[in-house]
C-alpha cells in the first residue's frame, strides 16, 4: 500500500494498520480489550505517539484507540474526504477603491478541514469573498501571495521582497495595500517596511489575527475588514499595523509601524503603541485620527523604495552579571552591529566594558536602547552611562529595541561608514525616535485601584 494510506502513522500503530489492511479514511470496526470501537480512521499528527489510532466516531467526536488493546480491525468501508474552499467571484463595484492584499504565509482568513482540524487558508479574492463577504462592500480586492513563510521565519529577504512588491503595486495605481502577516513578528516587519518604503502616497496596512479564523469568535474577519477599510478609504498614507483596540469586537487601532509592539502572548488586543498614542481608531466606515501629524494620502505615485539590509546585526538583552564573552563571540563571528538592551536609563555592568571597547576597536556599531520599553535612554545621569558613552556606545533615545535592531540592519545595509550609519540611526524616518513623550503615551494602569476598576467596568475592555 502507498504511504499516503497511513498519513502520520509510524511504529506500532503503522504496523497494526498494515497487519489488518486498514487505511486512513477507512471505516473501521476495532475490537479491543476495552470493547468495540467504530469510526473512520483519521490521519495522525506527526508529533503524536505511535501507540494510538485516531478514529472519528459517528457523533463527530475523535477518539484514540490504544494499539496494545487491539485484537482485530475490520475495514468495512472507505470514505476519503476532499476539501475545497468555495470560490465565488469577488464582485467589482465601480465607485469602491482598489485594494491589493499581499500574502506572506500567515492565514488571516481560512476554513477548516473538519475531519483533521487542519486550517485551509482562504486567500484568493474568491475564497476570501466566500469567507468574509462583507469585504465586497468595502473595496475591490485583488490578492497576490509574495511568499509563504511563517511569522517566526520572516527575515531581511522577505522584508526586501515585500518592499519591492509594494513599490510595484503603488506604481500600478492601487488605492491601498493590505499585508496579511502572522502576529509574532508583525511589528518587526512593520518597522522594516517603514524604513524601506518611504513617502508612500497610499496606506500600507499590516494585519493579522490573534485567534485563528476557524473559530466563530475570531478577530480575523473584523481585522481584515478594518485593514481593507483603512487601506482603501483612510487618509493615513503610512505603514501601519491594524489590530484590535480592545479585546471586544468594537474597533481597531492603526499603529505607526515603528512604535508598535506585541505586548501580550495571546490577547486580541496584544498590539500597542509605545511611548505615544496610536494613529487612529478604525471601524468599517470610519478612520478616526487620534494624532494629526501623519502623512496624508496623495494622488501621485512618488514612492521611494530602499530595500537594504545587513543581517550581521544582533541584539543583546543585558542581565546582571552578564559575561563579556557574549559580546566577544558576536564580534569574533563577524557581526557588524549590536543593539544593547540595557537596564534603567541604558546601563550594563562593568564586566562588559573590555568587550565593548574591543568591539568598538574592531569597528562594530554599538547602540543602546532600554529594557523598560517606555522612556528615553539617558546616559549622562549616572557614571555607568557616561563611561559607556565614552567607550562609543550611542544612545538611541526612545527607539524601541526591535525598531533599533531593524534600523541598524537597514543602515548597515546601505553603508559601512560608521559615521554615516550614526547619522541614519539618529535621524528619525518616521517617529522611531520622537522628540517628546506625551503624558498619555505611557499608560499601564493597574487593576485593584478603585478609579481604574470603575473605568474598566464602565468601558468595555
Amino acid at each position: 500500500m502507498n504511504k499516503d494510506f497511513f498519513q502520520g502513522y509510524k511504529g506500532e500503530a503503522l504496523k497494526i494498520l498494515k497487519k489488518f489492511n486498514v487505511r486512513v479514511w477507512g471505516i473501521a470496526e476495532i475490537d479491543t480489550s476495552r470493547g468495540l470501537f467504530k469510526g473512520t480512521v483519521l490521519p495522525r499528527a506527526e508529533n503524536d505517539d505511535d501507540k494510538h489510532i485516531v478514529i472519528k466516531i459517528a457523533t463527530g467526536y475523535n477518539i484514540g484507540v490504544a494499539t496494545n488493546t487491539i485484537k482485530t480491525i475490520k475495514e468495512i468501508g472507505y470514505l476519503k474526504a476532499n476539501y475545497k474552499i468555495p470560490e465565488q467571484e469577488f464582485p467589482f463595484t465601480e465607485h469602491l477603491p482598489n485594494v491589493k492584499l499581499i500574502g506572506t504565509g500567515g492565514t488571516i482568513a481560512s476554513r477548516l478541514d473538519y475531519r483533521t482540524g487542519a486550517v485551509i487558508p482562504a486567500f484568493s479574492p474568491g475564497e476570501l469573498y466566500g469567507a468574509v463577504p462583507e469585504l465586497a462592500d468595502i473595496c475591490n480586492l485583488d490578492t497576490e501571495k509574495v511568499f509563504a513563510v511563517f511569522s517566526e521565519n520572516m527575515g531581511p529577504d522577505q522584508y526586501k521582497q515585500l518592499a519591492i512588491a509594494i513599490g510595484k503595486e503603488i506604481e500600478k495605481g492601487v488605492d491601498g495595500i493590505v499585508i496579511g502577516h502572522g502576529t509574532d513578528t508583525l511589528h518587526h516587519t512593520a518597522t522594516a517596511l517603514s524604513f524601506m518604503v518611504q513617502n508612500s502616497p497610499v496606506p500600507i496596512i499590516l494585519v493579522g489575527s490573534q485567534r485563528s479564523s476557524d473559530r466563530p469568535s475570531s478577530d480575523a474577519a473584523l481585522n481584515l475588514m478594518h485593514a481593507c477599510y483603512a487601506a482603501g478609504h483612510g487618509d493615513i498614507a503610512e505603514v501601519c499595523v491594524c489590530m484590535f483596540g480592545p479585546t471586544s469586537d468594537e474597533y481597531g487601532f492603526l499603529h505607526r509601524g515603528t512604535r508598535v509592539r506585541k505586548m501580550h502572548s495571546s490577547y486580541r488586543s496584544a498590539f500597542r503603541t509605545l511611548g505615544d498614542t496610536p494613529l487612529a481608531t478604525v471601524r468599517v466606515g470610519e478612520v478616526k485620527a487620534l494624532k494629526n501629524n501623519f502623512n496624508h494620502r496623495r494622488k501621485d505615485r512618488n514612492v521611494e523604495i530602499y530595500p537594504f539590509f545587513e543581517d550581521r546585526v544582533s541584539m543583546i538583552y543585558f542581565y546582571p552579571h552578564m559575561h563579556s564573552d557574549t559580546i566577544d563571540s558576536l564580534v569574533d563571528l563577524g557581526y557588524k552591529g549590536i543593539i544593547i538592551i540595557g537596564t534603567g536609563l541604558g546601563h550594563v555592568n562593568k564586566e562588559l566594558y573590555p568587550a565593548i571597547e574591543r568591539a568598538k576597536e574592531k569597528g562594530v556599531a554599538i547602540y543602546m536602547t532600554v529594557q523598560t520599553l517606555w522612556g528615553y535612554v539617558h546616559m549622562f545621569v549616572y557614571e555607568t552611562g557616561r563611561e559607556l558613552l565614552a567607550m562609543g556606545v550611542i544612545p538611541l533615545e526612545n527607539m524601541l529595541p526591535e525598531a533599533a535592531f531593524i534600523k541598524l540592519g537597514w543602515a548597515l545595509g546601505q553603508t559601512n561608514d560608521l559615521e554615516k550609519v550614526k547619522k541614519i540611526m539618529l535621524s528619525p524616518v518616521i517617529d522611531e525616535i520622537t522628540l517628546r513623550e506625551p503624558y498619555n503615551g505611557y499608560l499601564v494602569y493597574q487593576g485593584g485601584v478603585p478609579e481604574v476598576e470603575e473605568f474598566i467596568k464602565k468601558f468595555r475592555k
Partner: protein, 670 residues
C-alpha cells in the same frame, strides 16, 4: 377567508383529528400509535475545586449586576466541510447578535474570554468522569481527544465548547429493560444568560468552564415515563459516586423526541426530571400535528415548489386597530407589514400543542431569528379577532388575497423586516416537509418554543490547542477498584432488606446508601431500621427546614456511633438529630443534657407504674381499663426513650400492670 371560519372550532377539530390525548389519559397504546421515541443527554457538573481548562474556582456564582468588566463579541459562522454554512450557523449570523459578557475577577480569567489558550485538562475532573464512565459500562477510549463543538449563540465566548469523549457504547439497567448509552463526554459548562432582547444578548461567565459530563442514550425510551425513569437512573448513578455537584442548575437534561415520520427535536435544559413525561408527550404530538398539517397543505397547494408569500407595507391609514402593540410599533417608527400566505387558511389555527397553534411556530421564530420582541405579529385566524378589531377583509384586499389564504400582520424595525419575511416564508415552506429539526426551550406547563435550528454534525473539529491524553490500562484498572455499587443492584438490595419503597428515590437522590452501609456494617444496626430512619424521619425533618450549613451526613454516623457506645436505644436518635441539624457542632452529651435525658435502669423506669395506675383510676372518665397501658406509656415514654427499646418497654409495662393488678387482687379479695 370566508366569514364563517371559526379559529376556535378549527383548533378543536384539528386537535381531535390527530387524536391528541392529554398525558394523564394517555397509555402505551397512544404512544405506540404515534410511534413515540426519545433519547436523553444528561448533563451533570462535577464536584471539582477548579474549572476544566483554567485555574479559576468552580462553583462560585455571582448576581447579574456583580461584575468587574464587560466585553463584546460577535459570532461568525465558519464554513462547513462541504463548503456550506451549517443551518444553525447561518441562522445565528442572520440574527446579528451583539453578545455581551459580564466578567467577575473572582470567577473569570483571560482563558474564559478566549484571550489565552487552554491549560492542561483538570486531572481531578478527568478522573471523576472516568469513574462515572466505568460505572456506566462504557468502553473507555485509549486516548482522549479534545474536540471543539461550535456554538454560535454566544453561550461560550470562543464560539465553541471544548469537549472530549471518554467512553462509548455502554448501558444502564432499568426496571424492565436495558437502555443503551451512545457515549459519555467531559466538557466545559457554558455561560448563564442574563437577558436576550432585540439584538443584544447578555451572559455572565461564572458558570462557564465548570467541568461537566454529558451522558447520551440511544433513543430507546418508548414512553414518556420510561424517559423519566432513565433520566432518574442516570442522575442516581452520577450521584452514587459522590463526585458530582448537587443543587439548582448542577444537573440538566436535554431530551430528543420524535414521532413516527417526525424528526429528532431536542428539548433543551429540562431542570426537573418530573417535567420530562409531559414535555416529551406534548412534543411527540406536536410532531404528529405537523405531519397532519403537511398532509393538509399538500392537498391544498398545487405546486409547493413555486409557493411564496407576498407582502405589503401597511401605512397608518391602511390599518385600523385598537391593539396597543401595533399603535406602539407605529409610534416607535417601526414598519407594519401585511403578509399573505396562499392556501394557508385553517393552518394558522391548527392545533400543535395544548393551547398552541401553527401560528405560534412563526411568531417564535420571528423572535429568535429576526430579533422581533413579542408580540411581533397578529394573524387572520387569531382567537382574539374581536379584541383586535382588525379589518382583515381590508387587508386581504390590499394583498389581493384569495379565499383559501391566510394573513399575518407583523411589525418591527425596518432593518429586521427582510429577515422577518424570509423567516415566515422559510417556516411555511418547512411545513410542506413536515417537522423541522430544531432545539426547543421547555416550560413548566409542558409546552415548548423554538430555540435554535438543530446544528449539524459538521460543527465538531479537533482542538489544535490541546494534545491527546493517553489513558493507560493500569490507570483505568485503578479507578475501577473503588466504584460504588450499581444503582439497579442498590434497588434490589433495598427491596431485599425491607427498606420501604417510598424511600428508595430519596435515598438514591441524596446518595445515602453508603451512609446506611457504614452505619449498619460498622455499628450493627439493621438496614431496614436505618433506611427507614433516613428515608422517612430525616427526610421529613429536612423538608421542614434546611439543616445548618455545617451539618453533614457524617454527623448521623457519629450519632449512631455515640448511641452504640453509650448503649443507648437508637430511638433517641430522632430527638437528638432534631437538635443536631441546627447545632451540628454541639457535643452529643450536651445534646442529651438539653433533652433532659437521664440514664435510668429498667427498674427505675418501671417504678412509678403502681402510682400511675392509681392516678389514672382517679382521672379517667370511663371504665376503660384497657386504656390504662396507653396512658401509662404516654407518661413514661419520654424517660424510657434511649434507655430501652419502646417495644420492649411496652411489654414490660404491660407485665407490670398485670402484676400490680394481681397483687391488688391478692391483697383485697372481693
Amino acid at each position: 377567508m370566508n366569514k364563517q371560519f371559526d379559529p376556535h372550532k378549527n383548533y378543536e377539530k384539528t386537535r381531535k383529528n390527530i387524536g391528541f390525548v392529554p398525558l394523564k389519559k394517555a397509555s402505551l397504546k397512544d404512544w405506540k400509535r404515534i410511534g413515540f421515541m426519545s433519547g436523553l443527554e444528561v448533563h451533570q457538573q462535577l464536584k471539582t475545586s477548579r474549572k476544566l481548562f483554567c485555574r479559576c474556582p468552580a462553583g462560585v456564582y455571582q448576581d447579574h449586576d456583580d461584575f468587574d468588566g464587560e466585553i463584546i463579541r460577535h459570532m461568525r459562522p465558519t464554513l462547513s466541510e462541504m463548503g456550506e454554512y451549517d443551518g444553525t450557523a447561518l441562522m445565528e449570523f442572520r440574527t446579528r447578535k451583539e453578545i455581551v459578557y459580564r466578567l467577575n475577577n473572582k470567577t473569570a480569567c483571560t482563558y474564559d474570554i478566549d484571550d489565552t489558550p487552554p491549560f492542561k485538562i483538570n486531572q481531578e475532573a478527568l478522573q471523576y468522569a472516568l469513574e462515572i464512565s466505568l460505572l456506566s459500562n462504557l468502553n473507555i477510549v485509549g486516548e482522549v481527544h479534545i474536540t471543539r463543538k461550535q456554538y454560535l449563540d454566544g453561550s461560550i465566548p470562543t464560539g465553541f465548547q471544548r469537549t472530549a469523549i471518554l467512553g462509548v457504547e455502554g448501558d444502564i439497567q432499568l426496571s424492565n429493560k436495558k437502555i443503551r448509552l451512545i457515549q459519555l463526554s467531559i466538557e466545559e459548562d457554558s455561560c448563564r444568560e442574563i437577558s436576550d432582547i432585540g439584538h443584544t444578548r447578555i451572559y455572565k461567565t461564572d458558570r462557564l468552564g465548570i467541568p461537566l459530563i454529558e451522558t447520551v442514550t440511544y433513543p430507546d425510551m418508548l414512553s414518556p415515563y420510561e424517559l423519566q425513569e432513565a433520566a432518574e437512573y442516570i442522575r442516581f448513578l452520577n450521584r452514587s459516586t459522590g463526585r458530582v455537584r448537587t443543587g439548582i442548575g448542577t444537573g440538566r437534561e436535554d431530551t430528543n423526541v420524535s414521532c413516527r415520520g417526525g424528526t429528532r427535536v431536542e428539548i433543551k435544559g429540562v431542570s426537573h426530571n418530573s417535567w420530562l413525561p409531559l414535555l416529551s408527550h406534548n412534543e411527540a404530538f406536536r410532531q404528529y400535528a405537523l405531519l397532519a398539517i403537511k398532509d393538509l397543505l399538500l392537498k391544498k397547494i398545487q405546486n409547493i415548489k413555486i409557493w411564496k408569500i407576498t407582502s405589503t407595507e401597511l401605512s397608518d391609514n391602511k390599518i385600523e386597530t385598537i391593539y396597543p402593540p401595533i399603535h406602539e410599533a407605529i409610534k416607535a417608527g417601526f414598519k407594519v407589514i401585511g403578509v399573505n400566505l396562499p392556501g394557508f387558511q385553517s393552518i394558522l389555527s391548527h392545533f400543535t400543542q395544548p393551547g398552541k397553534v401553527f401560528a405560534d411556530e412563526i411568531t417564535d421564530r420571528l423572535k429568535v431569528i429576526a430579533c422581533l420582541e413579542k408580540p411581533n405579529m397578529v394573524y387572520s385566524e387569531s382567537f382574539y379577532q374581536k379584541e383586535l378589531n382588525l379589518e382583515f377583509p381590508e387587508i386581504r384586499k390590499l394583498l389581493d388575497a384569495g379565499d383559501e389564504d391566510a394573513q399575518i400582520i407583523l411589525w418591527g424595525p425596518s432593518e429586521d423586516i427582510p429577515t422577518a419575511l424570509e423567516t415566515i416564508e422559510e417556516r411555511c415552506k418547512m411545513a410542506f416537509e413536515g417537522v423541522p429539526g430544531e432545539t426547543r426551550k421547555s416550560f413548566e406547563d409542558g409546552t415548548t418554543i423554538f430555540e435554535r435550528v438543530l446544528p449539524g454534525a459538521d460543527r465538531m473539529y479537533p482542538d489544535t490547542d490541546s494534545a491527546p491524553i493517553p489513558l493507560a490500562d493500569d490507570f483505568i484498572a485503578k479507578l475501577g477498584e473503588n466504584l460504588p455499587i450499581p444503582v439497579f443492584k442498590r434497588l434490589q438490595q433495598m427491596q431485599d432488606c425491607g427498606i420501604p419503597e417510598d424511600t428508595h428515590k430519596y435515598l438514591l437522590k441524596k446518595n445515602l446508601l453508603p451512609l446506611i452501609d457504614r452505619i449498619c456494617d460498622e455499628l450493627g444496626y439493621s438496614q431496614k431500621y436505618i433506611g427507614t430512619f433516613l428515608g422517612h424521619y430525616y427526610r421529613h425533618m429536612e423538608g421542614q427546614k434546611d439543616p445548618h450549613p455545617e451539618f453533614s451526613y457524617n454527623k448521623i454516623y457519629g450519632l449512631f456511633s455515640f448511641l452504640k457506645k453509650k448503649r443507648l436505644d437508637p430511638e433517641l436518635a430522632k430527638s437528638m438529630l432534631g437538635i443536631l441539624v441546627d447545632h451540628p457542632n454541639m457535643e452529643f452529651n450536651s445534646v442529651l443534657t438539653s433533652l433532659n435525658f437521664r440514664k435510668l435502669k429498667t427498674e427505675a423506669l418501671l417504678a412509678p407504674v403502681g402510682f400511675l395506675i392509681e392516678k389514672f383510676r382517679e382521672i379517667r372518665r370511663s371504665e376503660e381499663e384497657t386504656k390504662t397501658k396507653k396512658w401509662l406509656m404516654g407518661q413514661l415514654r419520654k424517660q424510657a426513650i434511649g434507655n430501652i427499646s419502646l417495644r420492649e418497654f411496652s411489654h414490660l409495662v404491660e407485665k407490670e400492670i398485670n402484676a400490680y393488678n394481681h397483687s391488688k387482687d391478692d391483697n383485697y379479695p372481693d
